[in-house]
Amino acid sequence: MKTPPPIERLVANLKRLPGIGEKSATRLAFFLLSAPDTLVTELADAMTRMKQEIVLCSECFDLTEVSPCSLCQDERRDPALLCVVEEPADRAAVERTGGWRGRYFVLGGALSPIDGIGPENLRIAELEARARSGTLKEVVLATNPNAEGDATAHYIAERLRPTGLRLTRIAYGMPMGGDLEYADHVTVGRSLKNRQELS
């Protein structure tokens, strides 16, 4: 029997989402079909409102309901310290540590020439303008510790060096709860290089 067109249409749309294939899309569609009306209405409303109400912060380019975002407006945060991350999720990860009292800047990705992503596709010009605004003393480059993230950090450092700001990179090392035996030798090597004195 042919699937009714409204279900087919929903499956086709769900398949456009990342990580959702034909099977998952069909499963979700049939779940929504049998779910209470309130659930479906709330879900549709949440998606619509998210699209309408979420904007980019004009200062840090994080996702927010009001621009500038609450973190950029927080006067207890040190405006001279800026932590540069690739994506909003990375900003959230740094914020969860509770150990950063400066501000943030979301680049919107990392350099990936193989995928056609160059400096013009990231917010590097905006970061440069922020660095030249005269309010900063230190820029912490907290891009991911992979090839693209490292290269992005070093590229930004090249661009910002003339500003004379202190440019730092997050440290490399063993993860908490890690096991030396199973770590790759590069991570172990960097952990030894970045060792710290016990006080």
Partner: protein, 288 residues
């Protein structure tokens, strides 16, 4: 192939599904090999810090059924090329070479050729790890890449009549002086070599015999010695135009990483240099 243990370099990585990755590997046993790394984005224990560009790996790949895509079972890090990650010109040229190899590397072939191709890839990353590249090194690496891929252009003799370029040069220069001797020699991109006996009006890239000899010299050098070959001025402009167009002819499209590489190797100030030379070469080509 049921189980394959081999060295590998990562050429391309594409996320699929919720936690998997499709990887294009270059190996000395198979050439380019497409594998799926199940759970690569989720598991931190299975492939810890290994599945990244500019890492020399040792991998174990299994193909359970002849029709299924091989699966990456294990990846151990042999060496990482940290110097490439830390300098944007090295990174730009490194990405460009990986993309080039991804486009042109064969899937399977003669064992000796595949080993030579892998050795070129590993050697060029080793060189970039230690050397800050310029336009000359880029050109010579592109030429060596073409050679390793079995697409080496003819540089020593006319591709039509077989006359050695030295003889063609002296024939062209008889009674007409230095510059006209250069005009007598042109490179035919589609034929893949210099032509001394071209028909009138045929589109050839003008090139001096000295440039062809310098490029031949670059092919004879081992990768660690490439930086020693001096290629400057007009020879560099001609060599860039020749190798660039020959490569584009074989790749068929502009590589995505090329724009960033151009930006990095032609910075404002120093660089107008290469752009200027290229535009000279282009206008020469148009005149020809």
């Amino acid at each position: 192939m049921k189980t394959l243990h081999t060295e590998a370099l990562l050429l391309r990585s594409v996320d699929v599904g919720e936690s998997d990755r499709i990887l294009h590997l270059l190996t000395p046993r198979t050439g380019r090999l497409t594998v799926v790394a199940k759970g690569a984005r989720r598991s931190k224990k299975r492939f810890p810090g290994t599945l990244d560009f500019f890492n020399h790996l040792r991998v174990q790949v299994e193909r359970r059924r002849p029709t299924s895509m091989p699966q990456l079972q294990l990846a151990r890090l042999e060496r990482t090329f940290d110097g490439i990650r830390r300098e944007s010109r090295r990174f730009a040229l490194g990405c460009y070479l990986l993309e080039l190899l991804d486009r042109l590397s064969p899937e399977g072939g003669r064992a000796g050729d595949l080993k030579a191709l892998f050795d070129f890839a590993l050697g060029s990353l080793t060189l970039l790890d230690e050397t800050r590249p310029d336009a000359a090194l880029r050109t010579l690496l592109e030429l060596q890449a073409l050679d390793a891929l079995g697409l080496r252009p003819e540089l020593g003799r006319c591709v039509r009549c077989g006359t050695p370029i030295g003889a063609a040069r002296s024939r062209g220069s008889s009674g007409s002086g230095g510059q006209s001797s250069a005009a007598a020699l042109g490179f035919h991109i589609a034929d893949g070599g210099p032509v001394c006996c071209a028909e009138p009006g045929e589109m050839l890239l003008p090139v001096h015999a000295g440039t062809l000899r310098a490029l031949e010299g670059g092919l004879r050098l081992g990768l660690p010695q490439l930086g020693r070959l001096s290629l400057g001025g007009q020879a560099l402009a001609e060599a860039r135009a020749l190798v660039g167009r020959f490569l584009r002819f074989h790749v068929g499209i502009e590589l995505r990483s090329e724009a960033f590489l151009e930006e990095r190797l032609t910075p404002a100030g120093a660089g107008g240099r290469l752009a200027h030379r290229d535009s000279n070469a282009d206008s020469n080509a148009r005149r020809a």
